[in-house]
Symmetry: C2
Subunit: 200 residues, 2 copies
DNA sequence: CATATGACGATGCGATCACATTGCTTTACC
DNA sequence: GGTAAAGCAATGTGATCGCATCGTCATATG
């Protein structure tokens, strides 16, 4: 797409979605309003409305955007091809990524938590979360199954159940880190220990 | 306190706080407003305002109320004296209580999740959460330490770290149950397996 | 060149919100 | 029995919200 109307459409939408994510990360989903988003993005409220005629679409776009950014960050760390890398390395990387260690990951986990809570009232978001996690858990289970067949992980474990428990542990700890219940390093140590426990 | 002004003060406040919890549980914290709360409680908006002059106090009261109800439910299941009961029984009961299994526990976990997200924007709530969890984790750690000294749990484990991981696992799984990512029975099985793993 | 359309900014509108104010009734206390 | 305070309902108020509408300008297209 070159110049003219619609040339920067996708980019503008992404910028606005990023503004929403920034607001959610430091003031929560309740602080998201058209004027607030416009101020955060440094544009007029009319422009926000132009790209997102209804607030619902604005929030959903931010949700999708957050997931994209998360996937991109994970891909950057593990490589594009999930089959190519060592399962154990991918497991520790991905699970470690769930524990906030800088402002970007902290913001992302805050957003994730906020949408989790939001899903109680918005079935559309809940449905997307289910799809997202089904995929995520399946990928983790695949990694575990691969190292089971390689003889590195006890074959008695149920790959999917184990994956579920690992991710749940990581996210539970992440929630603690976000509110200051525990430190990031403690949480990270716990997650890595849980992975190591698979390979005992 | 007998009759006259102030006689039912605490009870009225509790009723209103319960109404807030009910709204949070099925429509989220964003749906909480003075008129909404009044409608839920079947009283006039003025009465809500009378007992809670500012919305902040209303939300905080609901937060405290939720914690009280949770503690009461746990006490009812484990007995009043935490020293009297078998540590393993208490561990499984308390952790199992974190997994939603009926409308009451589901509502409670929804409320907990909502306040967790709310804490990002409200430092006062975050501070209360920290105190709450510090206490909670310490109690769990004590139970583990007691069964370590009894020789039922490997002494090599760090009681506090182990307690932290167990609760985080349970809450992470609970979040999945709430959005339908996984079933309650699966989550429960995972939690019980984690406890059983301590006693291996 | 004419016209339609995209891309906005500006303004207005109705709803809702938290909160303030007022006033009436009931009760405790001197 | 008079008075002060508590317990409420009713109403008002200013702010903010999402969203609709209108107008302007640039650009692609015929």
């Amino acid at each position: 797409m070159g110049r003219g109307p619609g040339a920067h459409h996708a980019q503008r939408r992404a910028e606005i979605a990023d503004a929403v994510l920034a607001i959610v990360a430091d003031r929560g989903l309740a602080a998201v309003s058209l004027t607030e988003v416009a101020a955060q993005a440094g544009i007029s409220p009319g422009r926000v409305q132009h790209y997102f005629p209804a607030k619902r679409q604005l929030v959903e776009a931010a949700f999708e955007r957050g997931n994209e950014l998360s996937s991109a960050r994970i891909r950057a760390k593990t490589g594009a091809d999930p089959q190519a890398a060592e399962p154990r390395l991918v497991l520790t990387t991905v699970l470690g990524e769930l524990i906030p260690y800088d402002t970007a990951t902290e913001a992302h986990m805050r957003v994730r938590q906020s949408f989790h809570a939001f899903a109680f009232a918005e079935e559309a978001i809940a449905a997307r979360l289910r799809v997202l996690y089904a995929d995520f858990h399946r990928q983790m289970a695949d990694l575990i199954a691969r190292d089971q067949q390689a003889g590195h992980i006890p074959a008695a474990l149920d790959p999917h159940a184990t994956a579920l428990a690992l991710v749940a542990l990581a996210e539970g700890l992440a929630a603690y880190v976000l509110t200051g219940v525990t430190t990031a390093s403690t949480a990270r140590r716990q997650v890595l220990a849980a992975v190591a426990d698979l390979y005992r």
